[in-house]
Chain length 459, copies 2
């Protein structure tokens, strides 16, 4: 039995969800607060590039857009570290040469919108939802033509961290919620192509300049440019509030980003024109209201960008929802209830993983002990392919529930602590006695984690 | 230099603040979303009685209302416990015969409104604030005559847990907030006077029927009635969702509240007419915006009622603000900044103390070990009046900052653990050797806590 579906937000998740629901035979209307980005020039100077990984690709495949996007995605096989003294190091993400993929958010969003329209979805632009009467599913929009109301049959809020539907949920009795900002902001900078259109840094890597309390990253684009993002405290010793003049910025880049600076001819313009944006994490206890509405993507779980999982997590929400529709048919009460039960723990987990990965990226990646650990993790994954997958690989290269990945973190810390407590691993591993102990540690680890739910995105 | 002050909410805190600011020569307008409670009959069947203690009285004294209210307040010198088998016990609150005072919320609120008007404050009823443009201090109200806007000079949000000003703050960049509900609800019940207008339970006590996972309390009113409140999980084994028929309620009261039931002739009517209400705790990181606006009372820190400190904490906000105005004169930027710096840690602390006291009231008060501890605390307070004040006494009978009280909790748990680990205290205390050890424990405790801020409500 087909429903009339209303989706708030024609961003990545909203557009993808529209395509998936349309394919299942539902009528779908999308409401987007901004004008059509395919017509207007919408670069806001604040879009962190996307790092598409397994979960994202799987959902794109459902929508029929995977092969199309693959031609526009740049594989990044690892982290490329830039030290203050100009030394660099490459740190592969995977033992199996797997990659995460740099994708332009704008390009992907435009393709998703067009595909949605081609499959019969109507998109209403310039419709800013200003409130939802949740029990009655009545929406109010501000439009250039004035206020408009609309009664929804089945409603999804895919309208991002500041979701109107989420906001209406937060005012309902017994709905718990929180949001908090990092003390860090971010600012977009850029590296243009070389004289022959070539990439001026290694193309197939995610570049990081880790500086302890702050960092810069750079992701490749198909046009030869890199999009750089500076993450830094709003206030503090080295902080955005201390960078007020060109001299301040020059000094910082001369001292800390000497290898990148010559590649950034528009540094000053970028720095003083682009906004300094904030980074929010949100939680909410209700992801749905009866069989009438649900939150999805950032609207349900806005997270910080440090694991590159924001879009991937939102797309996985769509994959799981799609599977539940196949399982439960027309019983939307069951579909939304199961969706909430399955996805909320994973939304909370990916939010925590993203916060944890910030410390790793800005600080630990430059630490020799950490680098050694990453190498050992790879070796363990090769030697014990059934028993051991690193948390990073679970998150980026598998469909293992985020909540399982985060539950493995402590057990892996303990295991690696044991392994590394005996000195040089790659020497030890030549010794039979050490290998026996390793077998024991590994089987204890495996016993501890195997009771967890490793079932893929049905998680 | 006098300001034009706008206050949202003519509840207890808003009305008191209006009086205090008017006394200092400011123009004050109060906006209240409800009609005038002095004209309409406003009993909503969901007002937990107030337990006025030291902090509340101090603020009433500032407003000039203390002696007037004292004649209408009923001292409660301790907890009066009712066991399922009908046994009772009295547990005094203080070593010095101090009391907390049962006060009618409606009566106090009406008196505060009238005093505010008499001192020159205008109160606009039926004005529901629907939004605040915080940077511009522009308020929008819904009224029976339609929408009204108003530009404020200096604005206070005293509009409770669901404050419109708080809500607008939560939408500002880098403002962190959360709210959560207990899994418990509450319902108001009542005990009428006896045939000669007399109180049917001990008048000068706070009655508790502690039942582990739920409890009932009763506070005396001046008209011979008691207001009872049942606190119980919304869902569960013994829970509101299981009490659907008169037979269900009869069974519960026969088994668990056999001594109270004969005193409650309107039990069924009360139970099935009065709403089951929820219990919220809120936190927000910004208590003020520049020199333009601030939150106060529940709007800044909504807490659960289990320490009887909600009104007391809000009144203390007013006392502290009043002191800061005296200190800083016309520098409202400094006044509001200091107000936030001093009060926010105490607002967070009293929220936590209130949550902790729920466990104490519904469960621990019936535990002989806990009762013994309370007796020992009193004895310690007598023997070491300079070194030891119990956390309960700090909260209810002193002006020591809530944040200091909560910081003493662990040290007191450790001290009492030591004292009680050696068996019967009141026998041990006759022994010289034990007294020496007690001196040592006490001086270690005192050393640990004396670095804290015990300065009164200037906290």
């Amino acid at each position: 039995m087909s429903r009339n579906v209303t989706i708030l937000g024609a961003g990545l998740v909203g557009s993808l969800l529209a395509i998936i629901l349309r394919k299942k035979g539902h009528e779908v209307k999308l409401y987007e607060r901004r004008p059509d980005m395919r017509k207007a020039n919408m670069s806001a100077g604040k879009s962190i590039n996307l790092a598409m990984s397994a979960r994202g690709w799987k959902a794109l495949e459902l929508a029929g857009l995977k092969s199309d996007m693959e031609t526009l995605a740049i594989p990044m096989y690892g982290r490329y570290l830039h030290q203050p003294d100009g030394q660099t190091a490459f740190q592969p993400y995977s033992k199996n040469n797997e990659a995460i993929y740099s994708v332009s958010r704008g390009e992907l969003n435009r393709k998703l919108m067009t595909l949605a329209e081609q499959s019969g979805v109507t998109i209403h632009f310039d419709h800013k939802c200003t409130g939802v009467d949740v029990p009655n599913n009545v929406l109010t929009f501000g439009t250039p033509q004035g206020e408009v109301t609309e009664k929804a049959d089945l409603l999804f809020g895919a309208d991002g961290a500041f979701s109107a539907l989420r906001n209406s949920y937060t005012h309902m009795d017994r709905v718990n919620c929180d949001h908090f900002y990092l003390e860090y902001g971010y600012k977009e900078l850029s590296i243009p192509p070389g004289p022959n259109g070539e990439w001026l840094l290694e193309k197939n890597a995610l570049h990081i300049w880790p500086r302890g309390k702050y960092m810069m990253i750079a992701l490749p684009n198909t046009d030869g440019t890199f999009t750089c993002t500076m993450f830094m405290p709003f206030e503090g010793e080295v902080a955005f509030d201390k960078l007020n003049t060109e001299a301040d910025v020059n000094k910082l880049f001369d001292e800390q980003f000497a290898d990148a600076k010559p590649l950034m001819p528009t540094l000053m313009e970028d720095f003083f024109t682009n906004p300094t944006s904030s980074l929010i994490t949100t939680h909410i206890s209700a992801w749905r209201y009866k069989d009438k509405s649900a939150l999805i993507g950032d609207a349900a779980h806005a997270i910080v960008p440090f694991y590159g999982q924001g879009m991937n997590a939102g797309f996985e929400d769509c994959t799981v929802l799609s599977g539940l529709i196949d399982d439960y048919g027309a019983d939307w009460s069951a579909i939304l209830q199961e969706y909430e039960r399955k996805r909320k723990p994973n939304g909370d987990a990916v939010a925590s993983l993203a916060l944890m990965n910030f410390v790793e990226m800005r600080d630990k990646v430059a630490d020799p002990v950490f680098l050694e650990r990453k190498k050992i993790e790879k070796e363990l994954g090769k030697r014990y392919p059934k028993e051991f997958i690193s948390v990073y690989e679970m998150v980026s290269f598998s469909h293992i529930p985020y909540n399982t990945a985060i539950q493995c973190t402590q057990a892996q810390d303990r295991l690696l602590g044991q392994v590394m407590s005996e000195g040089n691993f790659f020497e030890n591993i030549e010794q039979g006695a050490f290998c026996d102990r390793l077998d024991n540690w590994m089987s204890a680890y495996h016993k501890e984690v195997q009771q967890l739910d490793f079932d893929n995105e049905a998680g």
